[in-house]
Subunit: 653 residues, 2 copies
């Protein structure tokens, strides 16, 4: 995609964006505020900007006068960038650039970390779990009437130097027919031992030469969403991927309500059945899309949290939610996919990621494996943020982990207008330091319906940095704007008035919303700190932070550090692995090295029960401020607040 | 049981028999002829004997006059021995003892060989495949909330020094409930690795202490009959055994017709289903009889011929009956019993004995293992006689095997009045050298219905030794007796006239019957000789003969050597293992040593296709005589025939 340079005046900020970006989003990315209430749909008409040089596509609406249009005014939210631009933002009054620029920092997401198979290969870590071998066997005769299986094994030895082979009953059942149907020209599918020196299993035989067709499936079983990838085991490429809601949602939104449903008569069977149905649906869609034959799928790897894993395996999860929170097992043996009712060949083994504890599950272990954290020298913090946040700290020598209940704020739960990160969610925000008018950008550029987690972080951070809320999250009562008001005793900021929303109500951010976010981030931050303390380290020792989870990709790192969700580190040290669970499942599909290492890693991961850790509550209480009781833990923010607070106060005075 | 001494006059032969034996059977065992047509039922009245000293119970019938009874005459077949006796046999004329004694030799069956577990233990070969361990686990707490499986594994390590443990999904599923239901006092069932150093599988957990309940099932799947044993894995004892017809019989009597049925649509599934049904029935009866809980059965081992094995496993057997006779596999992996539809716990693995070729199956390998032949220094001939005879020659260093089609003569097939060894079958026979009157003894001491295989061998051997048939099996046409006659061109000997039978027809032995027997024994003998030649040995090198199969227990060894079925060896060298297949299955249930060795043994067993062996046909043709074309191969018989022939000729002249 082409990149164009956009210069914003009078701020004099320049940014390079992809062709097709709107001017509004470019401004947001550059840290330039433009009033915009309607999320980018074009109805509020507030985002009027002057295109001084260059040209945009669109942006002309009835909100602009003929004269405006002739002068070069456009609505920023509807103007698509097709070349280098200079854009001037009309400002209410002449203010100096320091005020203009205090309101927002350029967005800085974590760099995306993708698995690097070439690196794995170079390091000798690429050990394919399943391989195919083509054979042209001599036909039996009176002088040579070896049993079919002996013939197969003998020639695998002779022609492919394969040893220590074992054959499954299904292969024995189909071999005689396939040999004779194919003129004794067949392809054998070999499953390699995870531990060297163990036996290789001949898991399938197919007529003719099918050595170029060898696939695996990786599945992340989330409480809300299940994701799948279809992987080419020869190239390592993802050929198809698909996500779908976990059908268990009908039986309970969260882990606890699922467990309660599972305790009812027939409940466990039902939950098992429906999640298998979800997975089978995803498999079917991926196979259809890629045109791949089910018989060429040779492995499935699944990762999920402890409850999702137990439900998928039909293992009663009732003790997970009861003190002292005991899961059934950490490591699960390889299981025939058919026996779990997966619609895959009867030669396919399901590999299930091990768990650490009731609340640090296979999804986290998978992320640790997939991200390579367990192989690195660097002291790393792995953070998967959701309703429950899981924290892993360590490197190749040791690993410590813990889970903390953050509450659902990051997923929009407990927030008055909170919602998931779907169309209509305000995902980005800035505020005019003078007028306190908002700039809302929504997913899909439509009128807002609510606020998603990443948007919420940006809002609270921005309001705090601007001095509109204090370090307890309370609004400055002195500010005169209709957007800050008290309704039924609750102080709130109006993000969008009813007419600019999809829901015919004012969308607001309330003090209790902010409080919920503070408690959520406080739980996570104090979890990280407590875990660091338990292992005798502190924030400065961290060399790397890996973010995982659907949420992590949208988090503005600077803002996350402003609210004190993340410790203040160099953003270059932060990477994002996306769905770490799916990534690990994919990696395990591709190399036995990961399968082998995972058992050791699981044994090495020391679980800390935060609720049993004395200092956790102290750390938590100290973290219930923006960014923290002790601002000295966030020195850069402290410096910024001091300088901006000064100029802001000067301006307002 | 008490033993009594019975002395027969005028032969002056003495024998010791169990209390309750009839005088007729005692005479037969002593090699004393008493005329008896009716098999021992008392109706022919011919077996009149004089009890000179001692007393018998019964034996008084209307066939005897009052005077007879007062003098001490009794019917031998109805006289039960209750003390030491002297019995005088009335003889038609005064003949010298050499004539009296030429007609029969005392019966000499093979010594029964039973598995000797103490010997196994002494030799360090007793490695229990399944063991139970009782554990009292600490309950989880906040300070110790290990997953349930980790707790189990940890304490098995700590308290029982168990290492390298893996757990199956069914165990994981049931463990949490059982731990809490039993107050964390449980018994774990451990399946030991067959190869040392591999992993131990925790296959079951039970509440409380069940370490004294540990059982296994051994099954022999015969084409006609299926036998099972329920084995106590702690004591090695057989707690129950049961046999039943293989329900596949409804779909074909023999292996070939079963294969043909399996080739029909749905046929294989049906045959699989019904034999599993037979086995499940046997299991249910054994469990019921012994009062043992199904959950305490921890293993099942099955042996059968190649076709029976493939049908049981639902592996298409069509290529077994088609040249070049290729079975699907030799070795089968361990298979979950549930997946084969056995009604056993889902923790039970089915172990299936490996095959050597299409016609040397798991029943033979099982016999080789169970008999210990593969561990001995002695050069051994293992012979399982049925419709197909399987021959194994070798010792601990090497093994060679072959199958030959003997035809069904030994099971009564192709014999005019042939029948299986059930009630009413003539199982023993002698003939008066002067009058040519028979002495028939039937199974169950009832009037005869036919002739079973072991009876047939005795008849033909006796008739041959007496000179009544020649070495081609043809009757001496010069003998004057109504019992030798020609009917519709076929010469035959009347064993029992219609009035003394259960079938209202004369029961006869015809020349074609004898010819069938000669061909059957010729096939087996020549098979043994050809196999010996192929490995560069001869009969004199054999140090031991092991007979197996239902038939083997009843074979009179001396008679088998007379007809040339067995080579002429010292009877002490011959042992009988009964159902060798079942014996091996039982042994494999009891010790992993057998399970480990069987793979090597299977690889070591060289199969010879007799039909592809040039000398087989020559050996066969040479064996189509009684005992053989070359009488010098049977020197003892030759000497006997020469001496007796002389005196017989003198007597008859």
């Amino acid at each position: 995609m082409k990149g164009y340079t956009v210069r914003f005046l009078p701020h004099d900020k320049t940014i390079t964006v992809d062709e097709g970006t709107t001017v509004l989003r470019a401004a947001m990315a550059a840290g330039v505020h433009i009033n915009a209430s309607c999320g980018g749909e074009g109805v509020c008409g507030k985002c009027r900007v002057l295109i001084e040089t260059g040209a945009v596509e669109g942006g002309i609406t009835e909100k602009l006068s003929r004269q405006d249009i002739e002068q070069g005014y456009r609505q920023a939210c509807l103007s698509t960038i097709r070349g280098d631009l200079t854009v001037r933002i009309p400002v209410e009054s002449v203010v100096d650039a320091s005020i203009l620029n205090m309101q927002s920092t350029p967005r800085r997401m974590a760099g995306i970390q993708e698995p690097d198979f070439n690196e794995l290969k170079e390091q000798g870590l690429f050990l394919p779990p399943v391989e195919k071998k083509y054979l042209e066997l001599p036909e039996p005769s009176h002088q040579d009437n070896l049993p079919d299986v002996s013939r197969l094994i003998g020639f695998l030895k002779l022609e492919h130097d394969e040893h220590r082979l074992v054959v499954s009953l299904p292969v024995i059942r189909k071999l005689p027919g396939i040999l004779r149907q194919s003129g004794f020209k067949i392809t054998a599918t070999l499953a390699r031992p995870v531990h060297p020196g163990r036996k290789t299993h001949i898991i399938n035989v197919q007529p003719g030469d099918t050595t170029d067709r060898n696939y695996a499936i990786a599945i992340d079983i989330g409480t809300t969403t299940v994701y799948g990838q279809l992987i080419d085991l020869i190239t390592g490429n993802v050929l198809a991927q698909f996500g779908d809601f976990n059908a268990q949602i009908s039986y309970g939104e969260d882990v606890i309500s699922r467990i309660m449903y599972a305790e009812k008569p027939g409940g466990l069977d039902k939950l098992h059945e429906v999640v298998i149905g979800t997975i089978n649906g995803i498999i079917a869609k991926m196979l259809k899309k890629s045109g791949i034959d089910r018989d060429d799928v040779n492995a499935i790897t699944l990762a999920g949290n402890t409850t999702m894993t137990q439900l998928m395996l039909k293992v009663d999860p009732r003790y997970i939610r009861r003190s002292p929170y005991v899961p059934a097992s950490t490591i699960y043996p390889p299981i025939m996919a058919k026996s779990l009712d997966f619609e895959l060949g009867d030669h396919v083994t399901a590999l299930v990621y091990p768990q650490i504890s009731s609340y640090v599950g296979g999804d986290i272990v998978s992320g640790v494996m997939g991200s390579g954290m367990y192989r690195t020298e660097e002291l790393t913090l792995y953070l998967d943020i959701g309703t429950n946040a899981e924290i892993v700290i360590g490197n190749k020598d040791w690993l410590a982990c813990a889970a903390c209940s953050a509450g659902p704020a990051f997923e929009g739960g407990g927030i008055t207008f909170g919602m998931r990160a779907t169309k209509g969610a305000i995902e980005d925000f800035s505020i005019d330091p003078i007028t306190l008018e908002p700039m809302n950008i929504t997913i899909g550029n439509v009128r807002p319906k609510g606020i998603c987690g990443s948007g919420l972080i940006i809002m609270v951070a921005t309001l705090f940095e601007m001095g509109i809320i204090d370090n307890k999250g309370k609004f400055n009562r002195d500010l005169k704007t209709p957007r800050i008001r008290e309704t039924e005793g609750i102080v709130e900021y109006v993000l969008a008035f009813a007419e600019n929303t999809q829901i015919d109500r004012d969308i607001v951010l309330t003090e209790p919303d902010i409080d919920n976010l503070i408690r959520a981030k406080g739980a996570i931050y104090s979890g990280c700190m407590t875990l660091l303390e338990e292992v005798g380290l502190n924030v400065n020792d961290l060399q790397r932070i890996i973010l995982a989870g659907g949420f992590g990709s949208y988090v503005d790192l600077a803002k996350a550090m402003v609210i004190g969700l993340l410790p203040e580190v160099n953003p270059d040290q932060v990477t994002y692995v996306g769905n770490g669970s799916l990534m690990g499942a994919r990696m395990s599909s591709l190399t036995n090295r990961i399968r082998r290492d995972v058992v050791d890693v699981t044994k090495r991961m020391t679980n800390f029960e935060l609720s049993e850790t004395r200092s956790y509550m102290d750390n938590y209480v100290a973290a219930l401020f923006l960014p923290h009781t002790d601002i000295n833990k966030f020195p850069k923010l402290k410096a910024r607040l001091e300088s901006r607070g000064k100029s802001h106060r000067e301006h307002l005075s």
